[in-house]
């Protein structure tokens, strides 16, 4: 009952505080808008910038060769690249540097070598003749028993001529050079896409057809956009920061100002105090999660709908992190230290728990560390609940979060100090 009184008073105090509301509700909402805009691609072309220098110019009319232009068109047709063409007489790197300007950006240059068209045609012809020769040779092997001697002789003569002709075709290969910055995190992706286009171009010229069919399907039963996948992580991250940073700082400030000391002079117990604060933070977090998801629906057209599992996980996650915040504030004496320690714990956890970046791309030791971080289980549980609709994935995470919630509340009650000894 006293915990409920503490909850009502602290909640009212919080709701009337502009700075409290800003950091608990508005700040996360603003960050969601920023992250959402980045991940949903709103307002950006979402293309990789690629400089292309075409050195394959016809000597007669100084125009680029047809096939080099066709290759650039093929690059463009993927809608993956924003292409800046570099004139053939310019130094490619200097030109790209000048275009990128002082703020830089990633320098990726593709150079189409001189003689690209000729080499491509010759190479294609050589491959085609070679394939034709091999096909005819195999055919000859099959039909030989049924041929007359004169037919055999004519066939062999034809094959020999074909071989002779193939030997006269130059062996050069069409050359593409790609220059990438080792520090560019997208370099591998860009290189892979350019290589795929070159292969496709190659196959098209030699008349090969795909024998492997590639189909794409979503791992989820519903169709989600990019930003949908970030909603559970961002929600979990802010539940965590509100519990660890905001609640720790607030209760430390209450302690500094003697408010906790005053309440301790009444029959209020430490458990009442901790539970009241945890309850307040939990309600704030539920409100925050509701606002963030509603905003996601309206602004980014996200499709995730929190079900009973998600709400239960948000609730348990809030209790766990608020309990953690209360436990931390038991050890911290001043507000500055509360803020520093809260940030020191919350921020690494935010990035090591797979909320913003998938754990799969992290080094194995980070994946090991992530298993020791409470946020991992809230984020994973929410992903299973909101995205994959996988109850089994939710249960295990929910149990872990529930156990940690109880542990942190007990620890919080034990370490809460009304006043230093």
């Amino acid at each position: 009952m006293r915990a409920l009184t503490i909850f009502k008073a602290v909640f009212k105090n919080w709701m009337r505080s502009r700075s409290g509301l800003f950091f608990s509700i508005l700040f996360p909402v603003l960050l969601l808008l920023v992250f959402g805009a980045i991940f949903s691609g709103v307002g950006s072309s979402s293309k990789y910038r690629l400089f292309v220098q075409n050195l394959d110019i016809n000597a007669t009319d100084a125009t680029p060769s047809e096939l080099s232009v066709a290759f650039i068109d093929a690059l463009n047709s993927t809608e993956t690249f924003g292409i800046n063409e570099i004139p053939a007489d310019e130094n490619a790197t200097e030109y790209a540097q000048e275009v990128l300007g002082p703020l830089g950006g990633n320098m990726r240059i593709l150079v189409i070598s001189e003689g690209f068209q000729n080499d491509l045609l010759n190479g294609t012809l050589k491959v085609r003749v070679g394939i034709t020769y091999e096909t005819m040779d195999m055919y000859y092997w099959y039909v030989e028993p049924y041929l007359t001697d004169s037919q055999k002789s004519a066939f062999q003569q034809g094959l020999a001529q074909m071989q002779q002709y193939n030997a006269t075709i130059p062996d050069a290969k069409a050359s593409l050079t790609i220059m990438l910055d080792p520090a560019d995190s997208s370099a591998t992706i860009v290189k892979s896409i350019v290589m795929s286009i070159a292969s496709a171009f190659n196959y098209e010229l030699i008349g090969a057809e795909n024998v492997v069919e590639f189909r794409e399907a979503s791992v989820t039963t519903k169709h989600y956009s990019n930003v949908d996948f970030y909603v559970p992580g961002i929600t979990a991250a802010f539940i965590m920061t509100n519990g660890i940073i905001a609640l720790t700082a607030t209760t430390t400030e209450f302690k500094r100002r003697g408010i906790i000391k005053r309440l301790s002079l009444t029959p209020l117990t430490k458990l009442d105090w901790v539970v009241g604060n945890v309850l307040c933070q939990t309600i704030l977090n539920l409100m925050l999660a509701g606002i963030m998801i509603a905003l996601g629906w309206v602004v980014f057209n996200v499709r995730v709908i929190p079900d009973a599992f998600s709400i239960a996980l948000i609730l348990l996650g809030s209790i766990m992190f608020s309990g953690m915040g209360m436990a931390l504030s038991g050890f911290i004496k001043d507000v500055e230290a509360a803020s520093a320690i809260g940030n020191a714990i919350a921020f690494p956890m935010m990035f090591l728990s797979g909320t913003y970046f998938p754990l799969e791309i992290m080094p194995s030791y980070v994946q090991t560390i992530s298993k020791a971080l409470p946020l991992t289980y809230v984020a994973e549980g929410l992903k299973h609940a909101m995205i994959y609709q996988n109850p089994e994935g939710v249960y295990i995470n929910m149990v872990i979060v529930a156990v940690l919630a109880v542990v942190f509340i007990i620890v919080g009650s034990l370490v809460t100090r009304w006043k230093e000894k």
Binding site: K12, K261, R262, L265
Partner: protein, 310 residues
Amino acid sequence: MGKTVVEADSLVKRYGQLMAVDHISFEVYEGEVFAFLGPNGAGKTTTVEILECLRPLTSGNARVLGYDVTRSEDVKEIKKRIGVLPQEFCALDKLTVKENIALIGDMYDRHLDIDEVIALLDLKDKVNEKFENLSGGLKQRVGVAAALVSDPQLIFLDEPTTGLDPKARRDVWAVIANLKRLGKTVFLTTHYMEEAQVLADRVAIINKGKIAAIGAPQELISQYGGLKILKIRGGDKALASLLQKKYDKVSLNGNGDVLVKIDDVDEFWRVMATLAELKINKDVEIQTPTIEDVFLKITGGIITEEGELK
């Protein structure tokens, strides 16, 4: 003298090498205003916080309202029965006066009617004002209201007027005087001499963790206050020199008044006769000793406005 509500017997609080409270013993009786008077660091707040069950004692015994402050079961009973205005009282900034008083009230199984407490402390006009918007004096009044809301048997007021301007200080004094009229037992700590003298039924002078003297203000003044002083307004060095030839204890104060310490009425008339002989026609007044004189006599120093011993 009412029944004993606080008993401290050879109470000790030590922080490492520092002896904050050094074997002090005293009693507080029901219905009295008992003042702990001493400079900062004398051990006043430490003692009070031991009695409020906020700090553990190192050794000795302390009982509040018959309950032992060291027993956890007794602590619960003590907390139900005491009201506290801690040093530098603070409440939730965004809550109103009424909400803050009700918050403390709701911590108890029973409490007084909040509006009655607000009326008692003359806070009706500020009832819906947020705590953050109140002046220092009003904040202290809210603190006293919070201390009273549970209808406690014993009220601790720890430095209730520190940092307040003279008007706000006198407002708080009026509140404490009113508590006294209502028959409440008040344990007051202060470093203001006048506050102790005006409000307290009994005063304990505490310095360096030890009680130097304890008793009713008048008793202490009689015992330690020394002689009365005849003040001759607008005197000068020449007059002081003339009087020094006949009397031992003559001095000049900062305003240029001549001060003559007198033992009794006969000496007063002898000084007056001397002034008549010297044809000195000045205003005179008799100053009686105060708690400040008692404190000076006992500790050899005085307490500054900031609470430091000088």
